[in-house]
């Protein structure tokens, strides 16, 4: 059931296989060689398209009950009377799902040091039960950190769409990624 979309080009035009994980608990990297992506693998430009990721009504309700218990995310009847006209997932749930899709697609095998924040998120259309999400990722800027020259800052724009091609959420966020020399030195040092 896991739809795998062969994906993307990386540094030096080398084809990189990136498996999109359709579910939460599948091992995503079994078929991928243990190659760690570093700063050099994120040149500006289109990075890849990933998914689909199916979202169930049950997970929308579970996230909302724990983190965003507003009627528009919990109750079909109440939700039908809101601006969103029907049950929708929390925007924070959608951001969290995007995080997971990016993890499964590449962050899980990237020398990532975390992220300092998010420049902007735009929630453009509601997340609905049963949506199949696809994610497009573009590197908008890649630069070496001035304060930590062994680290790069990769700013990504991620856009998630539903199966109808409607834009649901756009996120612009930097992540910190080790440079290749720093990664190699760390691996040698064990």
């Amino acid at each position: 059931m896991a739809a795998v979309r062969p994906q993307g080009t990386s540094h030096a035009g080398r084809q990189v296989e990136i498996a999109a994980n359709n579910g939460h608990n599948q091992a995503s990297f079994a078929a991928i060689p243990t190659m760690t992506l570093t700063f050099e693998d994120f040149p500006p430009g289109h990075f890849g398209s990933f998914g689909p990721r199916h979202v169930t009504r049950e997970e929308i309700l579970a996230f909302a009950a724990e983190f965003d218990p507003q009627p528009m995310h919990l109750d079909e009847v109440a939700a039908s009377k809101t601006m969103l006209r029907g049950l929708s997932g929390s925007g924070w749930h959608l951001c969290s799902i995007m995080m997971r899709m990016m993890f499964d697609a590449f962050i899980g095998r990237t020398a990532s040091l975390g992220s300092p924040g998010v420049n902007e998120v735009r929630w453009l259309s509601p997340l609905r039960p049963g949506d199949d999400l696809t994610l497009d990722v573009e590197v908008v800027e890649a630069r070496v950190s001035r304060s930590r020259p062994e680290t790069g800052i990769v700013t990504m724009k991620a856009l998630v769409r539903n199966a109808a091609g409607q834009d649901l959420c756009e996120m612009v966020s930097p992540i910190l990624v080790s440079r290749r020399d720093a990664t190699a030195a760390a691996e040698l040092a064990g």
Binding site: H24, F63, E66, F67, D68, P69, Q70, P71, M72, K81, T82, M83, L84, S88, S90, G91, W92, H93, C95, S96, I97, M99, R100, F103, I107, G108, S112, L113, G114, S115, P116, G117, V118, N119, E120, V121, R122, W123, P126, L176
Partner: protein
């Protein structure tokens, strides 16, 4: 919950505190952000975070949880006093979210919200648009989390059902 007309720039609301236990950090991370420093104490210690650290999306989601819960508590009080209660509209997004310091296992974060801008919308006359700076402070008083939220609030006298 309040109507747009009840909101003024500079109004501040403490929305509550939350302790990020190791179990909660790992449960959220396993579902949404399974990077080693969010799942494993040893990996966290070796990372820039210096310990098992909550996913930034976990911190943001908990902020939302406390905002909503506190809003619902205020709404109940308003209803008990016989006042009209405003229902929040959806949010078009946010800007300038910063994970300033790691939230480590055992940290207790207190969240608050302060109104920064208010405006009306000609396209949606029944709604006002409010920006608020939402922040989180840990038990040592250090600012750890901040973002500029945008939301729709209903206007008191111009709000027929859509």
């Amino acid at each position: 919950m309040r109507f747009f007309e009840d909101i003024a720039i500079g109004q501040r609301r403490e929305v509550g505190s939350f302790t990020f236990t190791a179990d909660l950090i790992k449960a959220f991370a396993a579902q949404f952000d399974p990077q080693p420093f969010h799942l494993d104490e040893e990996a966290g210690r070796k990372s820039l975070f210096g310990g098992l650290a909550a996913s930034g999306w976990h911190v943001a989601s908990v902020c939302m949880k406390l905002m909503v819960t506190d809003g619902q508590r205020l709404a109940k009080q308003q209803a008990a006093r016989g006042e009209a209660v405003a229902a929040w509209g959806p949010s078009p997004g946010f800007r300038d979210l910063r994970w300033i310091k790691p939230v480590l296992a055992g940290d207790t974060i207190s969240f608050s919200s302060e109104i920064e801008t208010t405006r009306t919308s000609s396209r949606r006359p029944e709604w006002g648009i409010v920006q608020a700076r939402n922040t989180g402070i840990n038990q040592r008083g250090e600012l750890v989390f901040s973002f500029l939220a945008t939301g729709f609030l209903p206007r008191r006298n111009n709000n027929p059902a859509p």
